[in-house]
């Protein structure tokens, strides 16, 4: 063979081998899929989860993971998705940004097809830009910060600003107009959230009295309660992490400073842990949106059965059901994406979802090319006798529209 003709042929053959090894050009069989994307082989879909398995939020975070794991175990037991089993690698980030980033680097070198789940705003904030740049889908973390324009990030629960506007407007509608005072946790988004809350109060015909801003782990909430008490609000809006929410409400009860109408909160308040921790006197005073149905509801039955079968002994809470719901949503999207699974294909499948009943614990899910938040309605919660009570659903009000 002439030298000039042999070299291009060898290079082409080598390139074909490299591409095949990387999984770039293999075609799926009719019943199953081949290696169609990074992290996808003919018999497995590798996904990564960076989760707070230890640290301050580990109790809740581990429950979301337990719920998801039960669903993946069920799917794998029934043969997987187009013959591929879901193989989830869970790494602990202890609710810290550096560990979350390190975990994501590990996932990228593995590689994984997508990053799934995880708990809290701190790890999410750190890894969103990395995953966006690497064009790796990041699906359904339990967090409520907005990331508009991120094509690869998909959220389920409405962002905190929208939840704030939604709960204030709905509360003033349901319980009558009145005055609102707030205690908000300090985050990068606090100023914007407060601004939205003020506008929502005024739009609903209420009067904004003011707010206090706190950092996590305050030892004594009494000074804040004394300030609030002087205002005699009808509604008290509390937005900080669940433990501090409970401590603040406990201090409110201790000072006999309950608001005239209701204590309002975000999804952190629609949670058994919070309800169990606050004194009885605050019971029946709470009003908050929740991202999923509670354990006592009909909608939760399917998830409870799966969890009891595949993760026996796991406590069934709002978080466990959230984990189950997000995993079901992921499985639903994988099925819809078809056997020729690619990252872009999954993104397009999700973006095409419109009012999809993909998980029984969630309200219908919709995404589009300019909307990466799935829920348009949230469950409406109050509590009675130390039990979370779902009293319906409320449409999510977009903060920019408030």
């Amino acid at each position: 063979m002439e030298r000039g003709r042999w070299l291009p042929a060898a290079a082409a053959a080598l390139a074909t081998l490299v591409i095949a090894a990387c999984g770039g050009s293999a075609s799926p069989s009719q019943t199953g899929g081949g290696a169609t994307a990074p992290g996808v082989t003919s018999n497995a879909i590798q996904i990564g989860t960076t989760n707070a398995e230890t640290g301050v939020v580990s109790a809740s975070a581990s429950l979301t993971q337990a719920g998801a794991q039960a669903v993946f175990a069920q799917v794998n037991a029934s043969g997987g998705i187009y013959g591929r089993k879901i193989q989830q690698t869970v790494l602990d980030d202890a609710y810290t940004a550096p560990k979350a980033v390190a975990n994501v680097r590990t996932f990228m070198s593995k590689p994984v097809f997508a990053v799934f789940g995880g708990y809290g705003t701190v790890p999410a904030e750190a890894i969103v830009p990395i995953l966006q740049q690497a064009k790796i889908p990041y699906l359904f973390p339990y967090q409520g910060n907005p990331y508009p324009g991120d094509r690869y990030l998909f959220l389920v629960m409405p962002v905190y600003r929208d939840q704030t506007v939604t709960v204030i407007e709905n509360a003033l509608k349901r319980y009558g107009k009145g005055t609102v005072y707030a205690l908000v946790g300090k985050t990068a988004d606090t100023a914007q959230t407060v601004q939205e809350a003020i506008q929502a109060t005024q739009k609903a015909g209420g009067t904004w009295l003011g707010y206090d801003q706190v950092s996590q782990g305050t030892t004594d909430y009494t000074p804040y309660v004394l300030r609030m008490k002087q205002m005699h609000p009808d509604f008290l809006f509390v937005s900080t992490d669940p433990t501090d929410c409970a401590r603040y409400v406990t201090a409110v009860v201790a000072q006999g400073a309950l608001p005239a109408k209701r204590i309002l909160g975000l999804q952190t308040m629609a949670d058994e842990t919070f309800i169990n921790a606050v004194p009885e006197t605050a019971d029946d005073m709470l009003y908050a949106p929740g991202p999923n149905a509670p354990a006592s509801s009909q909608q939760a039955k399917q998830c409870i059965q799966i969890i009891n079968k595949y993760a026996p002994g796991t406590r069934i809470t709002m978080e466990t059901l959230w984990g189950c719901g997000t995993a079901q949503l992921f499985v639903y999207a994988l099925k819809k994406a078809g056997p020729n699974l690619t990252r872009d294909g999954l993104v397009k499948t999700l973006q095409a979802m419109h009012d999809a009943s993909a998980a029984s614990v969630f309200t219908p899910i919709s995404y589009s090319s300019d909307n990466n938040v799935g829920e348009r309605t949230m469950y409406e919660f109050t509590s009675k006798n130390k039990q979370l009570v779902s009293i319906g659903t409320m449409p999510v009000v977009s903060s920019s529209a408030a």
Binding site: A59, L63, L226, T243, R247, T250, G256
Partner: protein
Amino acid sequence: MGLLGSAAISGVAAGFVYGMLAFSIVLLFKATGIPNFTQGNIATFGTFVAYLLAVRSGLPLGLAIPLGFLATGALGVVIYLGGILPRGEAGTLNLAIRTLAVYLLLFAVMNLFWGVGQPFAFPHFLPGTAVAVGGVRVSLISLLTVGVAVVLAVAFWLVYNHTTTGLLLRGIADRPEVARLLGADTRRLSALAWLLAGLVAVVVGLLTVPAALLSTDMMDNFLLYAFTAALLGGMTSLPGAFVGGVVVGVVSNVVTAFRGQEFSILAIFALLIVTLLVRPNGIFGHDVVERL
């Protein structure tokens, strides 16, 4: 009464809690010369044991709480025997860092086994009644905290100043070699100090838990304020720990009520720095003899 008075009164109530934890730190420091960073988590441990026995095992609270004391006293001794006694001559800095390591270890273990579903509401062991003082409702637990603080301060002052054991405890911290030469059993006395510190820690935990709610990190922020209180009081003065606690509590709550938390932290640590500049050994402290 206006916000200033109300915030100050609430600060006194909070200050006694800081003071109580500071007291347990000083108690151990006086006897061993070690600033114990584990103290907050020892308090959490004892409170958790009492909670688990009462709520999950169904024991009456009257039995669960004493068992919590027993377990925590034992934990104090175990920490001493396992973490402090081996190569105990390594120096104060080394030993203090060991207590920091035990703090992290204890937190991780508690979080692993007891963290799911926290925070928990501890069963009521006192009526929820409160006394209105100047616009502030001072709960029965706050009044009890003040009472317990006074009793503990007097009791331990008497022990340290008027009993052989107390004098020996002070001796092994201040002049360990001399104490040994005089026949003091330093191991037994140090173990006793750790046991006592553990018992006082449970008192702190039980008095804190109604407001802080039971969680594995419930004492973390208290510990910072308690050390500040102990340093303000002088690290070796038992009444000084309470005075320091009340100063920290009042400054913290008043500044928080008017300027918010960031200013409050600023004010407390500015106060600490100024105090240590003016009185290097704190308000009631005396020169500490460093072990060589």
